[in-house]
């Protein structure tokens, strides 16, 4: 296969790499090399995105708070996060005397690996997709729910009362909100008729699901946004950290690069849920198409899919940052009430409603 590269369709490019690797070496080694390549690409992407998101959050929160934000290191303070990263790398790792050493060391890695695993299933653009299997949505749900183990272990092993309270809160919170996230995704799976993320994206060729499934899809999106914010432990659901109550909650005792892992994982989880929302509700990399408007559709097609994907993800992240920096924090009982008494029943009814709409063919 000849080398060809197009920003509109990565399929031929990725297939060219795949084919040339398999032609050059035995299948086992080709697979290993592919894994290593993907791992390195994702690591680099992960680090860059983390740095960028930290910078973006700082600038956005500064904008909301009548401040300037980082503006000293580099142009517009762009190097600030890199300087911070270097600082965190050089900082001493403080060991706590009575902490459970193994669990204390393992916890940050669990948190970061989990967010790393889930990203593999996200379709970034046409053909730019590390793993495309038939239970993509299910896989993401399963993997991302393991993050709570890391948080619980971090809180428990630190041997700190504040950390323990934070971890327990976080456990209750993530386990509860997992349900809503799952159910709101299932609503769209019902509409799409598939759990494979590439099929879900392809299904939105004529119209994005949020418009296609009208009312239930919009409800599902709002529920997903609330529940996924809670799942990533971000404000106004940042009870596990709850700075004013529990100092820093489950990661109070962590320092240096271990703290940076928790910090980075938070941003990556935010990117993850934003990209899932973009993929499932807003068409992923699919440009905005309206049935019948051929000229308009052609103009939209002119914008490369990768920009569509990141544009949508960043927009959803911006919404999440917006309400983080506006709302006060909920209390733990209010948080659980919101989930079990409101979101979950709404969601269950919503799934039925969506099933009805799909059966009757009422969607667009």
């Amino acid at each position: 296969m000849a080398f060809s590269f197009s920003i509109y369709d990565f399929t031929s490019f990725t297939q060219w790499i795949d084919k040339s690797l398999y032609a050059a070496m035995p299948p086992f080694w080709a697979l290993i090399v592919e894994m290593v390549i993907i791992g390195i690409v994702f690591l680099g992407f992960y680090a860059l995105l983390g740095l960028f998101l930290v910078y973006a959050e700082r600038k956005i929160c500064a904008f909301m708070q009548c401040r300037v934000g980082p503006n000293r290191v580099g142009p517009f303070g762009f190097i600030q996060t890199i300087a911070d990263l270097i600082k965190l790398l050089l900082k001493e790792l403080i060991f706590i005397k009575n902490a459970d050493k193994i669990l204390f060391n393992v916890a940050p890695f669990i948190v970061i690996i989990v967010s790393f695993l889930a990203i593999a299933a996200i379709p970034f653009a046409k053909g730019l997709h590390a793993m495309d299997f038939n239970i993509g949505v299910f896989y993401i749900m399963a993997v991302s729910s393991m993050g709570v183990i890391g948080v619980l272990l971090a809180g428990w092993s630190s041997n700190n009362k504040y950390s323990l309270i934070g971890a327990m809160r976080s456990g209750a919170q993530i386990v509860s909100y997992e349900l809503s996230v799952g159910l709101s995704l299932i609503t769209i799976v019902v509409l799409a008729g598939s759990m494979q993320l590439s099929t879900i994206v392809e299904g939105q060729r004529d119209l994005w699901f949020i418009f296609k499934g009208h009312i239930p899809a919009i409800i599902a999106f709002i529920v997903f946004l609330i529940a996924s914010t809670a799942e990533t432990n971000r404000g106004p659901f940042d009870l596990a950290e709850a700075e004013s109550e529990l100092t820093a909650g489950f990661h109070t005792e962590y320092s240096g690069i271990r703290f940076a892992f928790f910090f980075l994982a938070e941003y990556m989880n935010m990117f993850l849920v934003a990209s899932i929302a973009a993929t499932v509700f807003w068409g992923g990399w699919m440009p905005l198409h309206i049935n019948g408007f051929t000229g308009f559709n052609h103009v939209m097609d002119f914008i490369p899919p990768i920009f569509w994907f990141f544009g949508k993800s960043f927009f959803i992240m911006w919404i999440m940052m917006w309400f983080k920096w506006t709302f006060p924090r909920l209390r733990i009982d209010q948080l659980l009430t919101l989930e079990w008494k409101y979101l979950l029943p709404i969601n269950l009814v919503n799934v039925l409603l969506m099933a009805l709409i799909v059966l009757m063919g009422w969607h667009f």
Partner: protein
């Protein structure tokens, strides 16, 4: 621990956590030993004294004009009112009539200080509840007041502006203009506070019905200031025992009957409006004249006991001076509103969640250096 604890005993032990001396929500070096049952607060035991400087004892070795400078360091957010408590006591003891101009300026300064203090309380309270943006909004609007203070008094936080008999120096020529500008600006900006925090569903859920203190309990425990008025206890010294010009100006005593955190919050927001009203009534009518009454070089109080109540931004501050006729007092006692308001914390926060404890202690607006003195 000599005796061996059985598993049964451990299960019944309370989960004790130390909030403070260094904790983000105590706003200073106060320690709260909190007994928890899960998330529910069973008992709160405050430990103070981490910033005790013995101000009352130090006063015994100082002359009256020198004492003023120590009072700033008690409740640094209502420095003017603290100064006023000593100045008014001394003036009362000596029986001096102070110029009208001084009274006007003192009233305006006190009210500006009250607004600044409530602004800082508002931002810290928002931050206690997790709304970090409030902090910057409050500080942004507090800045013009501090600039006004800086121009006239030469200092931003601890001004020591009042002296027995008058003021340290006259107001800056721009004072009136700047104050009017600020009032115009703040009247526009204060509804923004409501938009950001007061109307928020989460905020209302977090504060309504939380930390209820009945009127009887508030009176019994001597809860004064905005916190007391949130319980319906009409304890505003400006109304009950007017000093400065408070009997001449028209303002409302903000009272709420609910006694919960939200009521205490509303009292402070309303008080900012009332303070602006007071300033507006006075700012154009400052009479010409001396900025201080004629005082002797060495102030000696007659033998006896003197006291004066003032309303600081946190409650009723009483300065009590016992004099033996010397140039320094025999004994000085300050009734700090913070220490006495703290006494209600345990009653208020019992059986609420730990997050509510933060909200309740935030709504009491405690300034720790005033508590410990």
């Amino acid at each position: 621990m000599a005796e061996i604890l059985e598993v049964k005993d451990i299960a019944q032990q309370e989960y004790l956590i130390n909030m403070g001396p260094q904790h983000p929500s105590t706003h200073g070096v106060m320690r709260l030993v909190v007994s928890l049952n899960g998330e529910i607060v069973k008992n709160v035991q405050p430990h103070c004294g981490y910033i005790h400087r013995g101000i009352e004892k130090m006063c015994e070795k100082l002359t009256y004009p020198q004492i003023i400078h120590l009072t700033d360091r008690m409740d640094y957010l209502s420095a003017h009112m603290n100064n006023a408590s000593v100045c008014l006591t001394v003036e009362k003891a000596l029986g001096i009539e102070i110029p009208e101009r001084v009274k006007y300026i003192r009233t305006i300064m006190d009210e500006l200080q009250r607004i600044a203090s409530h602004q800082l309380w508002w931002c810290a309270f928002g931050m206690d509840l997790g709304g970090l943006t409030c902090f910057f909004y409050g500080l942004r609007d507090r800045e013009p007041i501090l600039d006004i203070f800086e121009e006239s008094t030469g200092s931003r936080l601890i001004q020591s502006y009042y002296t027995p008999g008058g003021l340290m120096n006259d107001i800056h020529p721009d004072f009136q203009k700047k104050v009017k500008e600020f009032i115009k600006y703040f009247r526009k900006i204060l509804p923004e506070y409501d938009q950001l925090l007061t109307g928020n569903v989460i905020f209302q859920e977090r504060t309504k019905g939380i930390g209820i203190l009945s009127k009887e309990e508030a009176i019994n425990r001597g809860l004064t200031g905005p916190s007391g008025r949130g319980s319906g206890f009409a304890c505003d010294v400006r109304k009950r025992a007017p000093y400065h010009l408070y009997d001449k100006v028209d303002f409302k005593e903000c009272l709420y009957e609910e006694g919960d955190t939200f009521a205490r919050y509303k009292v402070r927001i309303d008080e900012m409006w009332e303070s602006m009203k007071i300033i507006e009534q006075l700012i154009d009518n400052i009479p010409e004249g001396d900025y201080t009454a004629k005082m002797k070089a060495v102030i000696k109080l007659p033998e006896g006991e003197f006291f004066q109540r003032v309303e600081t931004a946190r409650g009723e501050l009483i300065c009590f001076i016992v004099s033996d006729g010397n140039k320094n007092p025999l004994r000085v006692k300050f009734r700090s509103p913070n220490l006495i308001n703290l006494a209600s914390l345990n009653v208020m926060s019992k059986d609420f969640k730990i997050a509510d404890l933060v909200a309740i202690s935030g709504s009491l607006d405690l300034v720790i250096p005033c508590m410990d003195r």
